[in-house]
């Protein structure tokens, strides 16, 4: 937690504001804090900082606070906030930008979200297409939440909704996708950021 009270002169990181604006393509000073982004946010109840508070913290350049917030991981990317913002700010894009920035700095405030996404992408990397059961197994192992959705398994399996065999792209397509991931991971390593 930060020192209290928050010193917004010392805590202010102007280059952070610029960086967020450049990467998200949004002018954060347009936000006048009406809160409409929060009012419509389906994930608001899981946030530690509400969407409008994230916007406020970005306006003030409070980099640490923002990049450590759980909210940027819990955002569902439904873009209801962007749709209804009276100032035409693409709030969802700001949230996504902040998450990308946090990952690059290796700050992962909600590890199970990252683990879930990586589990999903690992199956894509391996087979070229997503593999639902594979994702589940990887995620359960990584998050140690071994009972995730076991209640659904009987019905899902009996309806043939989940296949035990991954869908592999024929004709070497899977390898092409694997190469995309490989290049992506190598570049991340070169640039010193979390892939």
């Amino acid at each position: 937690m930060q020192d209290s009270p928050l010193n917004i002169v010392r805590g202010r990181d102007v280059s952070f504001i610029k960086e967020v604006e450049a990467e998200s393509g949004q002018n954060v000073s347009n936000c006048y804090q009406c809160g409409n982004c929060t009012a419509g946010c389906p994930a608001a109840f899981t946030y530690d900082m509400q969407a409008n508070q994230v916007m406020r913290a970005v306006q003030l350049g409070l980099k640490d606070q923002v990049l450590h917030s759980k909210s940027i991981w819990m955002c569902l990317s439904c873009s209801t906030c962007s749709l209804r913002c009276p100032n035409n700010i693409d709030v969802a894009s700001v949230m996504e930008t902040l998450r990308h920035m946090a990952r690059r700095e290796n700050i992962v405030a909600v590890p199970r979200m990252d683990k879930f996404w990586m589990s999903f992408l690992n199956t894509v990397q391996a087979f070229g297409r997503s593999f639902e059961i594979g994702t589940m197994v990887l995620y359960m192992l990584r998050s140690l939440r071994l009972t995730t959705d076991v209640d659904l398994a009987p019905s899902a399996l009996s309806k043939g909704k989940l296949g035990f065999k991954p869908h592999v792209i024929p004709d070497g397509g899977a390898k092409a996708v694997g190469r995309i991931f490989k290049r992506y991971q190598e570049r991340a390593k070169r640039e010193g950021v979390r892939p």
Binding site: C34, N36, A39, G40, Q50, C85, P86, N87
Partner: protein
């Protein structure tokens, strides 16, 4: 010619980024310039005195001031040179503030540009000729367009000042939006009770002629002498016979007519009188719904009318009046809030506008002053007010604040509690803007004494919950939480825009308007009542958002302007108008066709057809001069020679 050049510092406004001293010195090299200097504030008294002194000391015959935009101070300096004995048109202004110092920071480049602009002004001045105004007679009467509270006040003040007033109102009654309101903030006094007497005064004042159900079709002419065509729309009732007894409205069989006066919150009859205190209290027929006029079968109102006032054959009538001045007081309308699909886009019956809510609160409204839900007629217990619907919203192109919604919302919350003591009101707001006298105290009362729950945040969505109530999805930004309120009725404080049709009227009046249709005042601070067309004044919300006291104040201010204008018996014209050189004119008629003011006519000159400018009508726009293939029409004070001199000078650099 002996020219003096005065370069103004405007404090640091100009001197901050222009080397004024160097600019003045460079002017000395220009032909005919015999004196040049720089002054701290040219427009201030010492500055003007210095100009006058220099005119005397150096026998100047022309003056250039390099300072700000001519908009504000050209008249100032013209008076200055006139006091020193020069003709006021032997003066030129170079705008080195708005066009130079305020838009660039490079001192060298700015100074160069300033020198060039001064050079152009000198070049033009060397070609200037003295011009003399003509005096003309005026018609001392005023047209007031719009019979809301601003127009009523303007009309009454002019009439009290002895000026004949023609008041034109497009609706069947005067009173405007204020007549629809129940109570007024912050005193919570009855709107009809305070407005009613003024409306009656309008009807009874010997100096006021009221044309209701009428619109201005066309205006030509100029300050002092406007010719106005007024369209008196067919009401199908002869108002000279109608006594307003109301028998016709009782018997009319067409009873399902949307009630415009009640903001469509109820139904009325095809022939109706808008409300009991209407002025004029006369019936009119809505031809869209009248059975006689749509099917030819009915005629009941004609049968029951005791004075035989009904006339189904009535047509629109155009009348022509002459006035010397015009006051526009056309007010406002609500923006089309149905663009808010997230609020139901108008399809939920219990999501209504504040103006509709006023009609529900009003004892003469469709429910007799009982607050009920339009959907089922039940009394609501939980009422949500949402502010800034269509205000301060860039995403729909309306960044403006509508100004008075914060206050009437507080008032409506208070009245809701008065009407339904066991009700609870919630107000979603972004900021409370309560800057008038006793205003903030009033909003505090709404919260402290009436228990209105103010929630700081915008509302993202409203939807029916399937049980007859509505879910309002908002936020409390102070709490940092999403908020949901389940309620019975939602009242939207819908943003305002200029009255529909305001932009058309502006074009007829030749005044400017902004993107929302609000008329542009002469100067945002110092000429808030005037327009850029002489003799046309503004009152009320047509100029920009205002509450009732401000509208009334501006109505009086506009009247004062009219009275001041008419304190003279003759006016002077502006001699900067077009002139035809008959020797060059080939009577092609192009100038006649392009003139937006109808100021050019054909006349026979020494047996030949030639164009002729009507001095008093010409506004000096110059369109004819650039259209004339022969160069036969020249605009005084902007002749080809004068303009080419400026261009030539610029090309030397």
């Amino acid at each position: 010619m002996r020219i003096g050049v005065f370069v103004c510092h405007c404090g640091s406004n100009i001197a901050g980024t222009v080397d004024c001293k160097a600019a003045a010195e460079s002017a000395l090299a220009l032909p005919d310039v015999v004196y040049a200097t720089d002054l701290m504030y040219t427009c201030a008294e010492p500055g003007q005195a210095a100009i006058e002194q220099a005119i005397h000391d150096y026998n100047l015959t022309g003056v250039v001031v390099a300072s700000c935009s001519p908009r504000m101070h050209e008249p100032t300096f013209r008076r200055t040179v006139e006091r020193a004995g020069l003709n006021r048109y032997m003066f030129e202004m170079a705008n080195i503030r708005e066009h130079v110092s305020w838009i660039g920071k490079d001192m060298v480049a700015n100074t160069n540009k300033a020198c060039e602009l001064i050079g152009m002004a000198v070049a033009k001045l060397r070609n200037n000729r003295p011009l003399y105004a003509q005096r003309f007679d005026i018609t001392k009467s005023v047209l007031v367009i719009g019979g809301g509270v601003a127009g009523i006040q303007a009309a009454l003040d002019c009439a009290d000042g002895g000026i004949p007033v023609i008041l034109v109102e497009k609706e069947p009654t005067i009173g405007g939006k204020m007549a629809k309101l129940d109570k007024t903030f912050p005193t919570v006094d009855c709107s009809a009770c305070i407005l009613g007497p003024k409306m009656v005064d309008v009807a009874q004042h010997p100096n006021i002629t009221l044309y209701a159900c009428s619109e201005v079709d066309d205006i030509t002419g100029y300050v002092g002498n406007f010719d106005v065509k007024i369209r008196r729309k067919a009401t199908y009732v002869d108002w000279s016979k109608c006594t307003g007894c109301g028998t016709c409205t009782e018997k009319c069989p067409s009873k399902k007519v949307p009630d415009r006066f009640n903001e469509n919150m109820g139904l009325t009859t095809a022939i109706n009188i808008p409300f009991p205190q209407a002025i004029p209290k006369r019936a009119s027929i809505n031809p869209q719904y009248c059975r006689k006029l749509t099917t030819g079968k009915c005629g009941i109102c004609a049968k029951v009318c005791p004075t035989k006032a009904i006339d189904y054959t009535m047509k629109d009538e155009i009348i022509t009046v002459k006035v010397g001045s015009v006051i526009a007081a056309t007010g406002y309308d609500l923006m089309d809030w149905t663009v808010y699909q997230e609020y139901g886009g108008g399809k939920y019956p219990d999501v209504i506008t504040s103006l509709q809510y006023e009609r529900l609160l009003n004892a003469s409204g469709p429910t007799g002053g009982h607050i009920v839900r339009p959907s089922d007629g039940k009394e609501p217990k939980k009422v949500v007010f949402i502010q800034c619907v269509g205000s301060r919203d860039k995403s729909i192109g309306r960044p403006l604040c509508s100004g008075f919604c914060c206050m009437y919302t507080a008032k409506q919350a208070v009245l809701t509690k008065d009407h339904i003591p066991d009700s609870q009101s919630y107000v979603f707001y972004m900021d409370i803007r309560a800057v008038g006298k006793l205003y903030d105290e009033f909003t505090r009362r709404a919260i402290e004494e009436y228990g209105t729950e103010y929630i700081r945040g915008r509302v993202s969505k409203i939807y029916p919950d399937g049980n007859g109530q509505y879910v309002v999805c908002g936020v409390d930004t102070l709490l940092g939480q999403r908020i949901e309120v389940t309620c019975d009725l939602v009242v939207l404080a819908v943003g305002i825009e200029a009255s529909h049709g305001a932009s058309h009227l502006a074009e007829k009046l030749r005044i400017s308007y902004d993107q929302y249709g609000f008329f542009l005042e002469g100067h945002p601070k110092l000429r808030p009542v005037e327009t850029n067309t002489a003799g046309v004044f503004l009152a009320g919300v047509c100029q920009g958002t205002k509450d009732i006291p401000s509208s009334v104040a501006q109505g009086s201010a506009a009247a004062a302007k009219v009275l001041a204008l008419f304190s003279r018996d003759k006016l002077e014209n502006d001699p900067q108008i077009a002139h035809v050189n008959p020797a060059r004119c080939v009577a092609c008629g192009k100038c006649i066709r392009c003139c937006p003011f109808g100021a050019i006519k054909e006349e026979t000159f020494r047996g030949q057809l030639k164009a002729k400018v009507i001095d008093t009508v010409c506004q000096g726009c110059g369109i004819c001069t650039s259209t004339c293939p022969q160069g036969a029409i020249q605009l005084s004070h902007a002749t080809d020679n004068e303009i080419l001199a400026e261009v030539n000078l610029l090309c030397q650099y």
